[in-house]
Symmetry: C2
Subunit: 107 residues, 2 copies
């Protein structure tokens, strides 16, 4: 794996960004990354998501310009592209992350 391809944020469409965030598993990953630090694919594990699906989620997040992934041995560590994303889509990530942790069911 000779490094990953990361889009320039200018090439990311708003629809792609929203789509990437519109998935509970991907959003959970982004939330964790927003706390800081790097996250390996396996450490991300939303409940029982298979490896291949998880790998695909990371790919989508990468394509949306949300994360940057580097290879470290056999791990692929990802970090948020927070500042860049903020520049491209001002306020978007912060607003989404500010939403209640999900459990949408008020009476």
């Amino acid at each position: 794996m000779p490094a990953f391809s990361h889009p320039r944020l200018g090439d990311v469409a708003l629809a792609a960004a929203l789509h990437a965030l519109a998935d509970p598993c991907r959003l959970a990953i982004v939330r964790r990354l927003a706390l800081g630090g790097e996250l390996s694919c396996s450490a991300a594990a939303c409940h029982d998501v298979p490896k291949s699906t998880l790998s695909n989620h990371f790919k989508i997040l990468r394509a949306a310009g949300l994360i940057r992934t580097r290879t470290a041995g056999r791990d692929h560590l990802s970090t948020l592209r927070g500042d860049e994303f903020e520049t491209r889509f001002p306020g978007l990530l912060a607003t989404v992350l500010a939403q209640p942790e999900e459990t949408a069911n008020a009476a």
Copy 2:
């Protein structure tokens, strides 16, 4: 058509809301509604989207709690559920609408 079913905002998941906004055609509809007023299905017309597709887009927006639709003769007029949506997802709609009009291509 005995009126439409509109979810309580408390029953709308964040993922559903983001998904609804993650489509250029639907987002264009929401942008127009955000300017105020009601919009009929046919008046919404994004370029060359067929009626059935458009109808489905409205259905998705309705299910996401973004719009309310009422019947007026043979027209189905929709309005934004702006305040309710804002209460459920603080800042979300405003932030999305504040994003550049789309044409993501800087060098």
